[in-house]
């Protein structure tokens, strides 16, 4: 069985600039690789990071986005948040985004509370015992 490393939390705050999506993916995949995730799991984590960022940038209010990455002994957890007056969870683009998150993550939530859009997602490590 492969054991995962405990790494993080790493908290990153960025302006709502699409070009930073790749930078966040690099940071997340570097963490996940150190922690011992497989290549396929790292691909899923990269997609999840991208989806979180694009949901908060495209549907947020132009405010900075905060993401947080953390790896524990069985999963990679990511959270993202941004202040947003409106955040239409039923927007068709977000529906596609959610269906991708559902495909690559073992669980995820998206909500909008107190003017803050918030996304949480988790990719579990499949151990082979």
């Amino acid at each position: 069985m492969t054991e995962l490393g405990l790494i993080g939390p790493v908290e990153i705050r960025v302006p709502p600039d699409p070009s930073l999506s790749r930078v966040l993916r690099l940071a997340a995949s570097g963490m996940a690789s150190l922690a011992g995730f497989t290549i396929d799991e790292i691909e899923d984590i990269k997609i999840a990071v991208s989806e979180v960022l694009l949901a908060l940038i495209e549907h947020g209010s132009g405010n900075p986005v905060e993401v947080q990455f953390e790896s524990d002994d069985h999963s990679f957890k990511l959270r993202g948040r941004s202040f947003a007056d409106n955040f239409d969870i039923e927007h068709p683009d977000l529906v596609l985004c959610r269906s991708v998150l559902a495909g690559v993550c073992d669980s995820h939530t998206i909500d909008h509370v107190d003017n803050q859009a918030h996304i949480w997602a988790e990719v579990t490590h499949k151990t082979i015992e």
Binding site: P18, R22, K46, S50, L96
Partner: protein, 107 residues
């Protein structure tokens, strides 16, 4: 040396008119790809070469799906060439494979 474009994607038009994509089709790169498709789609069949693409997210997929929808309205289709495992996976997850004509795949 290329000027910086803050962008992880570049697009080239191949000798046969195909759109050859290099880089990540994400929220930063999607619009570049979309502009290339829009500039060609009314005069020719859309062929997108993904041989140098190893990342795509839902915003990139949206650009491809939009092109597919417009092509279907013209009784045409969008041909994807040299599709890698990452794009294949996203098409499968979202159940959108049948929106495209897959000319070839790679491992």
């Amino acid at each position: 040396m290329e000027a910086a474009n803050n962008n992880s994607l570049t697009v080239e038009i191949g000798a046969d008119g195909s759109i050859v994509v290099h880089g990540d089709i994400d929220i930063a790169g999607g619009p570049t790809l979309e502009a290339a498709i829009l500039s060609l789609e009314n005069t020719q069949q859309v062929v997108i070469d993904l041989g140098d693409v190893s990342f795509i997210d839902s915003s990139g997929l949206r650009s491809l799906l939009g092109a597919s929808r417009r092509a279907q309205a013209r009784k045409s289709s969008v041909i994807l060439r040299s599709v890698g495992p990452e794009v294949t996976r996203l098409l499968q997850i979202t159940g959108t494979s049948d929106q495209f004509a897959i000319e070839s795949s790679r491992d």
